[in-house]
Each structure stands twice: as C-alpha cells, then as structure tokens.
Symmetry: C2
Subunit: 350 residues, 2 copies
C-alpha cells in the first residue's frame, strides 16, 4: 500500500485561459464594463483594522440586501464564493439518491465534474438537433435535475412556463435552475420558489454585475432548502465570504440603475455583433446571454479559434462531441467587437 492508493482521482474542470498582456479577451464571459463606482468605494471605505476579525459567518448583511431586491427574506438566500461554490454545495446537499441526476449533454461542463467528485450517478440527456432542451425528457424518475437557463454554451433561453413544466413533473426531486446568464434577456423563475418547494434558483455576481474578481454567487429557495444547504456549508467552511466581498456585494445590489445600463449596452452590442457575423456566413443561436454561440457554414471553428488566438483575440472553443464546430464568443465592448469582426472578415477572406 502507498499513499497513492488513498488519493482521490479526479479530472478537474478546466476554466478558460487567463492570458496576460494586451489581448482582447472574449473567452470567459466577463463583463466588459467595470462594476458600479460604489462597489470600489465600499471596498476602499472599509475599516481595514477590522480585517483582524472574522466576517459574519451568516453573511446576514448581504443576504438582507439580496432579500430586499428579490422581495424575499434573508432565510430564502444562501451566498457563496461564486455560483460554483453555491452549486457545489447544492450538489452535495441535495443529490444523494441512487438514481441518476439529469442534465443536458450540452451544458455547463462543471456538472459532471461535481457529480464525479461527489460520487453522484448522472445521466446526460441529449438536446435536440437545434441544441434545444426537450423538457419531456425530464418527466421521469431521477435523483435530481439541474438546468442552466439560459443554457451555456448554447446561449438559448427558455420561458418560465417551460421550466415550470419540468417542476410540475418532478415534485419529488430537487430541481436546480442555474441562472448565471439570466439577466441578459431571459426571464427568471425566482418567483416560483413559493409555489415549488423543491426549486433552487442560482445566480451570480460574476457576469451581469461585473464582479467576477470578487467571487459572489447565491441561491434563492424555500427556507427549508436554504437551511439544509447552510448546514452542509457549515460542515465544510464556516467563514467563506470575506469582508470585502460582503461590502462589495451590498453596494452592487443597491445600484440597480447602473446594472441595468450595462446590461442594455451588452444586449445592444450582442445584437449588432450577431447581425454582422450572420452576414459573414455564421449561424448563431438566439442568444439570451452575454455571449454568442456560432458556427460558420464553410470554415472550421477550430481553425478560426487558432487564427484569432494568433491575433491575440481569445474566444472559447470546446473540443466536445456535437459542438466541436462552434465558438463561444463573449460580448465585449462595441470597440472589441469591431476588432473581432474585422479580424473574422480577414480570416474568412471576405
């Protein structure tokens, strides 16, 4: 026997590259606009002497701010170190059945990684040929369901009615709806948590709130579900949210107008870029996110990806079955997108 025998073997999730230097970075769905000015001020105005003290393990101030925004109670809110932390705890808390959990074959690639690390059986359900989730495929026995809406990397958003149909057919399972991109034009199902006591809605500050660097995510659900998630969290790490994260999070939530302005600009740039790309021979799904998922009628995605990289423009290419001829392109500023378009025109010899 050796120590090797008892080491957990995993295939970790691989995040998008983090290139340094002067590049156009359209590969990790970051927001091109800075967070609200008040976010930086909240951090700068902290009493730095108090960093000697533990933060509130209950994160009550941030949970209250989020509760006010969504018109729920703090007991309906769980906060974590990015939505990945929240989702990981939700998997550990809710997915303890011998039956497989269900999620689409084309979706956030972290789901299968968490399932593997926590020994959760799972089944990937094929999306249709247009990359749409077929809700009827989720009307069957299971150990839990997780749906990203809008889905990633397909960018396709479904209606609250669509999600509610899945909920109606799964009253004995916890259904997690990962709404990381919901603010970019999709309708949230957060209003359904009172009606469906098995629904967990997860959102993040990383995309629409321009705060990927702060690591803040949250879940909204029935108080009983939040309570058991908190119990599991307190069995792993009591104090996860540091003082700057709590302060920055509150300042962001209290700046709804700036938040809406940034989103409007991104949606407008997305539609502009989509039109330009389509005129170049690209096909794009109907994106409800801050990225486009595109394929070109003649030119291989991998080739375009490599060519863009040579020109210091980073987009995301997944060498995975069914989507290995697609590119996921984050919507940056209008200026970023014009540089992208110019380079794509060149690569496509237009």
């Amino acid at each position: 026997m050796s120590i090797e025998d008892n080491i957990r073997k995993v295939t970790p999730y691989v995040p998008g590259e983090q290139p340094v230097g002067k590049v156009i970075k359209l590969n990790t769905n970051e927001n091109p606009y800075p967070p609200a000015r008040e976010v930086g001020e909240a951090i700068r105005n902290m009493n730095m002497e108090n960093l000697r003290l533990y933060p509130d393990p209950e994160c009550m101030s941030l949970r209250k701010a989020l509760a006010d925004r969504f018109d729920y109670d703090p007991e309906n809110i769980f906060v974590g170190v990015g939505s990945d932390d929240v989702l990981s705890i939700a998997f550990l808390t809710f997915f303890n059945s011998d039956k497989p959990i269900l999620f689409p074959d084309i979706t956030y690639s972290f789901y299968s990684v968490w399932a593997d690390v926590y020994n959760i059986p799972y089944e990937r359900i094929h999306v249709d040929e247009n990359l749409h989730i077929k809700k009827e495929d989720y009307y069957r026995e299971n150990g839990g369901i997780i749906i990203t809406n809008p889905n990633a990397p397909t960018a396709i958003g479904e209606s609250p009615k669509f999600i509610e149909d899945i909920l109606k057919h799964n009253k004995d399972s916890v259904v997690i709806v990962d709404e990381a991109y919901v603010d970019f034009g999709c309708e949230s199902v957060v209003d359904l948590i009172d009606k469906y006591k098995n629904l967990v809605v997860v959102q993040t500050f990383s995309k629409s709130r321009s705060m990927a660097g702060m690591r803040i995510g949250y879940a909204i659900a029935d108080k009983n579900l939040i309570k058991v998630m908190s119990d599991v969290k307190f069995s792993i790490n009591s104090y996860t949210m540091n003082q700057p994260a709590l302060q920055a999070g509150i300042a962001s939530v209290q700046n709804e107008e700036y938040f809406r302005d940034c989103i409007d600009k991104i949606i407008s740039t997305r539609e502009y870029t989509k039109e330009r790309l389509e005129s170049m021979g690209f096909t794009s799904t109907d994106s409800k996110t801050n990225f486009l998922f595109v394929t070109h009628k003649d030119i291989k995605a991998e080739y375009i990806f490599e060519e863009l990289k040579k020109r210091k423009i980073y987009v995301r290419y997944f060498n995975l079955p069914r989507i290995n001829n697609y590119l996921r392109i984050t919507v940056g500023t209008r200026e970023d997108m014009d540089v992208l378009i110019e380079n794509l025109e060149d690569i496509c010899n237009l």
Copy 2:
C-alpha cells in the same frame, strides 16, 4: 419518496459567537492588533475596474510570495479560503481509505465534522490526563493522520522531533499537521516536507497575521501532494480567492517585521495573563498559542463563562467530555486582559 430522503444530514460545526456592540471578544482567537498598514493600502490601491475580471485561478502571485518566505517553490504551496477550506480539500483529497483516520479526542472539532460530511471513517485517540498527545498511539495502521500543533483548545505545543517520530512511523499515510497557531511560540515542521513526501503542513492568515476577515489559508507540501489537492480544488471551484484576498495576502507576507512585533506583544501579554490567572487559583496549560486553556481549582468553568458573558466579556466554553471544566481565553490587548482579570477577581471573590 420525498426530497427529504435525498438531503444530506449533517451536524455542522458551530463557530464561536459573533456578538455585536461594545464587548470584549476573547472567544474566537482573533488577533487584537490590526493587520499591517500595507495590507489596507494594497486593498485600497487595487484597480477596482478590474474586479470585472476573474482572479488568477492558480493564485500564482500569492503562492510566489509564500514560496519566497518559506524558501520553496510556488508548486509547493496551495492557497484556500481560510485554513478550513484548505483542510476540507485535504480531507477530500487524501483520506479515501477504508481504514480510519486518526486524530486526538481533544482537538479542533471540525475534523470529525469533515469526516462525517465526506463519509471518512475516523478514530479519536485519547490525549493523556495532562491533555498531551501520546505519539506512540499513532504508530499503527490508519487511513491518514491529522495533528494540530500546537493543539487546540489545549494550547500545548510539541517539538518537531515529536512530529517527526509520528511521520517516521507512518510512511504510507498522509499526515496533516495543522499549524494554525504555530507562530505564537511553537516550531513549524515546514522544513520536513522534502524529507517526508507524505507531510502536509497547513497554516493560516487568520491568527498571527490578523486577517481573519480576509479568509486566507495555505498548505505546504511535496509538489505531488499539492498537485492532487489542486486537481480536487479545480473539481469543486476554480476561482476561490478573490482579488482583494490575493493582494492583501501578498502585502502581509512582505511585512515580516510588523508581523513579528505583534506576535511578541501577544506572547508577552499571554505570559502576564497566565501568571495573574494562576495567582487566582487557575491552572493553565503551557500555551504556545494566542489563547490560554484554563481551569479553576474551585469554581466551575461554565459558571465563570456565564458570569463573564453577563459582563460582556466573551470567552469560549466547550461543553464536551473531559474539557467541560475548562475555558479557552483568547489573548487580547494588555488592556483587554486587565479588564478580564479584574472581572475574574470579582467573580472568584478575591
């Protein structure tokens, strides 16, 4: 069947109370001194616009700063959201045997919580009647070992030779040495990681570096062990350390002098307090930490705990077998300790 059946049932760790308002807080082993001035400056001087970007998932800048301080390579360093995050990942990574892991019956109470949540079999080994760990008890087959040194809440520190004897007898197990309090007068075994490829040393910024509010902990070990810990970490949450944590951590590590000054003051106040308490009828272990673990010859610990609480002085009382007549008292400023002493004199009718 209902959703209840698949929910993970746990008994979470309960952290010390976080009272608000004007109190003397000697219950969670926080440092009474603020972090180095440069820590606050590093946070204030951040480019807040860059918060829109993900932090470096590899945390390379902070790992380099720590590697420089300990004279290792960044590949020997793992950083996490407080040492609880680091320890939790280490448990998940290394403790996958059917044989029980071993730790003292009186030690950090989170160990059994992690073992429970991750389904790790464990055995608690009795410390002796003077609360000392008996190293020979760890010379036997096991699925891993974790030792806190100095131990908490006993405050007793052991020599590197003592730890090395345990390592020598356990070459087929991963041995974690949790050195959360090591800077307050105990000698680290960090120099042994080259010699013992199965040793993981864990330290924290929360105590000696006055940064409980920032959530930074780290492990130092052979590169192979750090690599597998990182793989597990990347299977749970790619981006855990937010931008302020990375900046603040670097600034702290680069201020060795301030760090040493604070520690010297705390050690001096600890010895002063210990002497005063002993003159009142208390017995104290030989503390190598920033807290005292004391028991009174006549008066019940629980009574003293409650009386102090009425006077808005918070210390920690564990209603647990073998130590339910002890108090754990964090070493605060000299002024805090004089108020404590005065109140204890009153409670003890001196």
